[in-house]
Amino acid sequence: MKNVFKRAAKGAHLPHNKNTQNISTVDLPVPEKILLPMQQHIGAPAVPVVKKGDQVYVGSLIGRAEGYVSAPIHSGVSGTVTDIRELQVSSGARIPAVEITADGKQTVDPSIEPPKVNDYESFTTAIRNSGLVGLGGAGFPTAVKLTMKDLSIIDTLIINGAECEPYITADNREFVENPQDVINGILEVKKWLGIKNVIIGIERNKPEAIDTMFALSKGDPSITVKPLSSVYPQGAEKILIENCTGREVPRGGLPSDVGCIVMNVSSVAFVARYLRTGMPLVSRRLTVDGSAVVEPRNVNVIVGTPIQNLLDFCGGLKGEVGEIITGGPMMGVSVMDTSFPILKQNNAVLAFSRAESALPPVGECIHCGRCIETCPMGLSPVIIAKAYNGHNLAELNNLMVDLCMECGSCSYVCPAKRPVTETMRLAKAMLRKGAKK
């Protein structure tokens, strides 16, 4: 039970728009060319191990992980490397990207075989080689998450099936289409990390997923299926941990500080498939939806496919298009160019009409306090904005602005349509810069 005197943390009540929830996933045809940026994860970019003219196959290593927090990148097509060039990604950074022209044969790399796993070390090595990153959107390298000095502090594995962003149903389809992979993946992680309890958190707006998981986990008392209220951002790591276990991840801490590991459902299902086949992460499911999309659906896409191919496959766009984003409407990123490739961590491509994506005019703050009531982290955006405007670093630190995860709830509920989340971002940056001095 939440203590309402401590914080309201009501979260935002968004329209779910889960239009594609009950539509089976279809495969996107192999594209002519794919483009693989060497950074599709949080951490250091990978380093290309191929050169122009090289012959590659499905599953061939294209980029080697560089440094501890990084992930390798593999080809999803067989064909020839035709270009290695710099690509500007959404963060603004310029990252090397490898272009591969497909031969259409989809020949599998002969070196692909199921990894040999017999202990914790070999398990995390296998995960590292698979190129797996958090498929829920953040793209944190999974092997880094699973590697820790003291395994004994972890008692709970939380499977994140909340999928709280509107429109996106990719994780829901994973539960419904590959439930056995989900369970097998959970059992593998549980076995090699020696974790006692597993909680599968699913929002109540996914009844089919909840039923499927209940049925499959019935015989195993260590696995609990936990239906969660459909309030945004239910799937945010710290919120999910609080709602599943009642534990509070401390400021500056990690889930492991409260004995938890959180994994996205699609990621954990991929673990099962990888251990079975040895095929690294070269394709993924994502939702294509939004008011400007003719035929919304879930599509299996080879990583590196241009966004335009995906939109064409879904019947193209209709009306005047205002904005295309990868990820959900709350935390997703605007696409500047539809020739940009699909990345590992993209769980949706959404296209909105001009009218829907127009920016509303900004008014004066009327101090209604809705941002404060809504903030899932219990922060006080309107007070933070004041401290930010006054360059008050000590106050920003007191207000713990660094805890903000930029979920967008404050901007969403603001009746004056102020860019509250953007102010929070700027305030975080101000505190970070000030703290370094």
């Binding site: 400021r251 984003i325 997703g332 605007s334 509303p360 004066e364 805890l403 509920v413 009746p415």
Partner: protein, 305 residues
């Protein structure tokens, strides 16, 4: 194509819709004032509303500020100011009240969202101090004695008497400023605001509960205290003004409690019969401190072990 920072969607709320909801919530009381005090009451409301909107427009025009078109906040201030005036007040005095509310309290401090106190309350207080006689010439209900515009005491002044039957108090058929008497209409508006999630019921409920408890302890009749004077109007419409009330649940509880204590102190032990407007003004001034002391605790604010 647009490229913007997340979030890419917004809810359909707006300042304008919030103000419209407040105006809708004020409608029952406007109608009640027309029935109880006659057309003259409606005239006062019309004059203050027009004066408030005109002053806001004029000020922004002269100061070359963007004209706040259609946020309706000046209309709300106008109605609330009129609600705090007797229906017999000379219209030029009402216009002075509107000037104080809009120009001095609101615009000189930065306009919408920057006022330190509720504009209508200060407008009323300035008029009450400047024109005490006229401001307390309460009209009696028109249909009752057949005599309009007769100076007389409100139930509070007339003693604290409280000979009036409770039902009459509840329906508002007694003397007073034009918007405060009909508790039934004000409650109806309050229910609308809570149902539309425009206001949280915490401040009005704490305020009313505090007054009821202190009245009991002080040997007064709690229901009479709740239904008379400007309490209902103040609790539902004036104390819940966003800008001048605290953000958090704890803050709202403290605010409501403070309002109740000050109101009762003035009503029972001070020279003045009515304490609602001074209580709200005083508590308005405490809001920044209350906000600082009652901040919510972030998730993860605990110390790392």
């Amino acid at each position: 194509m647009l490229v913007k920072a997340s979030p890419h969607i917004r809810d359909n709320s707006s300042t304008q819709k919030i103000m419209l909801d407040v105006i809708i919530a004020l409608c029952p009381a406007i109608i009640a004032s027309g029935i109880i005090f006659g057309l003259r009451a409606l005239l006062v409301i019309a004059v203050t509303v027009i004066a408030c909107v005109a002053f806001e427009y004029l000020y922004c025009f002269l100061m070359k500020k963007p004209i706040p078109v259609g946020d309706f906040s000046a209309v709300v201030t106008g109605i609330l100011l009129a609600f705090n005036l007797p229906s017999t007040l000379p219209l030029w005095m009402a216009v002075i009240g509107a000037f104080v509310s809009i120009v001095i309290v609101k615009q000189l401090f930065g306009g919408l969202g920057h006022n330190f106190a509720n504009p209508a309350i200060v407008g009323r207080i300035v008029l009450a101090v400047s024109f005490t006689g006229r401001m307390t010439s309460y009209a009696f209900p028109q249909f009752e004695g057949g005599v309009d515009a007769l100076a007389g005491a409100t139930p509070l002044v007339a003693t604290k008497t409280a000979d009036l039957p409770l039902l009459q108090l509840f329906l508002g058929a007694h003397g007073g400023v034009l918007g405060e008497t009909c508790a039934a209409a004000l409650l109806l508006g309050g229910i609308w605001l809570v149902a539309r999630k425009v206001i949280s019921p915490v401040i009005p409920l704490t305020y009313l509960a505090t007054v009821a408890v202190i009245s009991l302890l002080a040997g007064q009749e709690p229901l009479v205290q709740l239904l008379s004077g400007g309490l209902m109007l103040g609790a539902i419409f004036m104390a819940t003004d966003y800008v001048t009330s605290p953000y958090t649940l704890t803050g709202k509880l403290v605010f409501g409690l403070g309002l109740g204590v000050i109101t009762c102190a003035i009503r029972f032990w001070a020279n003045s019969a009515e304490g609602v407007s001074y209580a709200i003004l005083l508590m308005n001034l405490f809001v920044p401190y209350i906000n600082n002391l009652t901040r919510q605790k972030p998730l993860g604010g605990v110390k790392k072990k």
